[in-house]
Point group: C2
Chain length 91, copies 2
Amino acid sequence: MNRQQIIKAVTEKTGISRKDTAKVFSSIFETILKSLEKEESVRLMNFGSFTVKTYKPRKGYNPASKIVVQLPERKAIRFKLAKRATSKSLK
Amino acid sequence: MNRQQIIKAVTEKTGISRKDTAKVFSSIFETILKSLEKEESVRLMNFGSFTVKTYKPRKGYNPASKIVVQLPERKAIRFKLAKRATSKSLK
């Protein structure tokens, strides 16, 4: 499923125009990203939470070339589904 | 950041009413969840993708009680940030 299909489903369900739905759609995800860029978690009830996890710098070793490299600090987004978000099949 | 704060930011940015924004907001995340419940991935350009990962059933061992248990198949949502979603600090 992609952006297009979600917007279509939402307009059918809410009766709100495609144009306004698309605007709100874009704005929501831009807002979420901006928050994450500031390393501020985003928690959405009945859906899930996005948090920024920082991985410490570490030494990496390539066993083939036997070269040790210093890997810099790394950040990644973690998503956790809300417990009550969905049926029990997904946890 | 939570639902409330995102809706506020979106209404300020788009000029669309709080009521309509809230409706679209709820509908978007319900639609995403429904798709994931059907194990259909959701890919949002410039944001990221949600996929359902299935973990095979496996044996679990509790070293304290020395009991081996059969762990059932498990499903979880994986989120991957789009490459072009954000500044280089988050990957």
